[in-house]
């Protein structure tokens, strides 16, 4: 009996760039790059026309522009991508409930329960691609294999290929034959494996290990010496295509946060206070939108020399109120050294719990330390509710704290803006 081929890895093709082209057909056929548009930005996604001249994801935007001066560079619209991603998920849900989202544009599916209704894994993959093309007017690649590792590599093998004369259609679907898994896996570079980042790859290269096949032929005990105990054992298994990680549904969100890199390092405490206000306020909105509250608030600072510090404060109860988060984050910031100049600032909330589970609110005899009364706290909750309602109707930037009004109007932090670097 052959092993079942039940794991699908679905990956959208040049997702952000493809959505931009979909929404603005005049971009069709042009090299489109989505990412941070400023000098410190990075490429988040690019069309195949851009790839043909060497632009890649995660490449510094400066480098991308150098390689492709005629590229259309867009800063991206996170909200729009999220919307398309949700519709993509709805398509997946037709075929299986066992979905593990990896990011907005890729997911693992376990289709073992769908064969009677929808046919073989191949037929399901074809149906998904057809639905994506028809409903979303976008294309995706699907890898089919016995395990997640191989399925992910297979979807890459299914991708279109960039060329100077335009993208060449890939197979769209790639199946890793269980009989020929090692044949597929071993010629690939070690960096294709999970857990092999640039540093590990470099260390392995020093021992003459370049391909997964090289890795497979190294004694497991030696490997442990090169890369450490747990990583060693895991890599050895993966190199022999032993991967029994299940497709995990709905991994719960661990934290909600925003961070932003500034165009130039910021030394001014007052400016940082405004930025932290902006981010904490937005984090509050997102928490409330997901019915979450968190007990730990963290402020992260990265200095010009890339050293990073974090400052956290834990509370005895989950909070989601914007005003409270702003207060805590500002206090954390005021305790941090900003003198060296801040390159990146972030605010996040963790130790999350759903507010439905937090089924009550402990009332105070009074609010300590000159804070507010329960009356004020109730008013604050009402304010949050009103702000959320206005934003739902008129958009995130429709309302925000007065402190954030500047010369260019209200600057409200939105999900996804500046996430690939500052815009200037």
């Amino acid at each position: 009996m052959t092993a079942p081929l039940d794991i699908l890895h679905v990956d959208m093709d040049a997702f952000f760039a493809a959505v931009e082209i979909l929404d603005d057909p005049s971009l069709q056929g042009l090299p489109v790059i989505v990412g941070g548009t400023g000098s410190r930005g990075v490429v988040a996604s690019c069309s195949y026309e851009a790839r043909a001249v060497g632009v890649r994801s995660a490449m510094p935007m400066v480098e991308a522009r150098r390689r492709c001066p005629r590229a259309v560079v867009l800063s991206g619209r996170h909200g729009r991508y999220g919307e398309v991603s949700r519709r993509l998920h709805e398509i997946f849900e037709v075929f299986t409930p066992i979905i593990e989202p990896i990011s907005l544009d890729e997911a693992f599916l376990d289709v073992s329960g769908g064969h009677r209704l929808f046919g073989s894994s191949m037929e399901i993959a074809e149906a998904i691609r057809a639905r994506v093309a028809e409903d979303l007017k976008l294309s995706c690649s699907v890898g089919i294999a016995r395990c997640k590792l191989l399925a992910k590599l297979a979807s890459r093998a299914a991708k279109p290929i960039a060329s100077v004369s335009g993208p060449l259609a890939g197979p769209g679907i790639f199946v890793v034959d269980p009989e020929r898994e090692l044949e597929f896996l071993h010629p690939r570079p070690v960096s294709d494996l999970w857990g092999v980042g640039p540093r590990t790859a470099e260390r392995l290269a020093r021992y003459g290990i370049a391909t997964i096949g090289d890795l497979a032929n190294v004694d497991a005990e030696h490997l442990v010496r090169f890369v450490g105990r747990s990583a060693g054992a895991q890599l050895h298994d993966l190199a022999w295509a032993r991967d029994d990680r299940p497709v995990e549904m709905g991994r719960p969100v661990k934290s909600v946060g925003h961070e932003e890199t500034f165009a130039v390092d910021v030394h001014d405490r007052e400016q940082l206070r405004l930025e932290v206000t902006r981010m904490a306020e937005a984090v509050g909105s997102r928490l409330r939108a997901s019915d979450l509250g968190g007990r730990t608030v963290t402020v992260k600072l990265r200095y010009g020399d890339f050293t990073t510090i974090t400052r956290s404060h834990s509370l005895h109860r989950p909070v989601a109120s914007s005003a409270e988060l702003v207060k805590i984050a500002a206090a954390l910031l005021s305790g941090a050294d900003v003198h060296p100049g801040v390159r990146l600032l972030g605010v996040s909330v963790s130790s999350l719990e759903t507010r439905a589970a937090a089924s009550g609110e402990q009332l105070s005899l009074w609010e300590p330390a000159g804070g507010e009364t329960d009356l004020a706290s109730a008013a604050r909750a009402d304010l949050d509710a009103v702000v959320d309602a206005i934003r739902e109707r008129y958009g995130v930037a429709a309302v925000g704290p007065a402190a954030l009004v500047g010369a260019s109007g209200l600057r409200v932090k939105q999900l996804g803006d500046s996430q690939w670097g500052p815009s200037r």
Binding site: H313, S314, H316, R317, P318, T354, A356, A357, A358, S359, G360, E361, Q362, L363, S364, L365, W366, E367, P368, A369
Partner: protein
Amino acid sequence: MKFRADRDTLLETLVTASRATSTRSGASFGIVGLKLHLRGQQLEVCGSDPDLVIEARCEVAGDADGTVLVPSRLVVDIVRSFESGAVTVVAGDEEVRFQSGRAEFLVRVAVGAEITRLGVPEQEGIEIPGAVFADGLRQVVRAALVDDSRAPQLTGVLMIATEGGLRLVATDSYRLAFRDFAGMTVVEPGGQVLVPAKALAEVQRLAGSGKADDDRTIVFRHSDLDAVFDLVDVRITTRLLRGQFPEVERLIPTSYAYHLHVARDDLEAALRRVRLVVRDTKDATTPVRLALHEGGVDLTVLTPESGRAEESVEGVFEGDDLTVAFNPSYLLDGVEAVRADTLILEVNDPGKPALVRGEGEDEYRYLLMPVKVS
């Protein structure tokens, strides 16, 4: 320095002193020190954090006087690991030898470990009956704030002179505990001191551990900055807390519309049971609901993760049926602290403070804010 000591006695002395260091950051890495000081037949062990010093003494067979700093955690663990019997301790310049039976440890002297020195007030000491005071502390210390990031003054217990004697007050803003000691003059009339609850917890532990017939006396003295509690063989010196303790008297309602009388033990047992479904007992948001009715009270805890627990406790209730919710751990703290057999729970409104007290036990009151449930 060189001495022989009984293992159990030495361990107790080390543990007592090390409790001052236990919350100090770095304690787990062994960089927090205990100072061992031998003079004649008396060994004094001193542990400290920046605000608290505990000096514990015991009799040993001393051979050579001296002083040495040892890593707190490691030395406690070593002596604890010895069998009962004699322990020999010999300090060299760089190492201290701990030997018992055939086991021998050479421990590096804790170079650079800091020992806090606090000034001992020169004022004349006031004697406090230890067991009674410890009992009162047990009732009150629990209401103090543990995490001091919100309001440091709430991590203290207020000792305040009243007309009738002494009052202890502690609050974390969610509950408020009062204990009166009639006729006990500890603080000068009109005066008050705010003592860290952490120090008082140690006083309570040491003074309360005596047997009933052995009512140890505590000698208390304080200045504007520090306070000292002298117990048999132990001196606890603490810095006093600064900052304004809230005006709490005004928070206490003058009357209550609803009164529940229940057997204290029954309510405590029921609360302990229903609380089991609360996964994180520090969770202030999963309440126990108390449905008060003519026949007593029905307790319910409901959690989305673990499930549901219910229990009825018989009692006498005056007033219309009413449901009020509390943090189960906070309520349990108050119920546990009551001494009387019959407990009275008094409520005005599910959003207003409720009072827990014992019938005929006027010296103790525990005021608790409910949890608002929708």
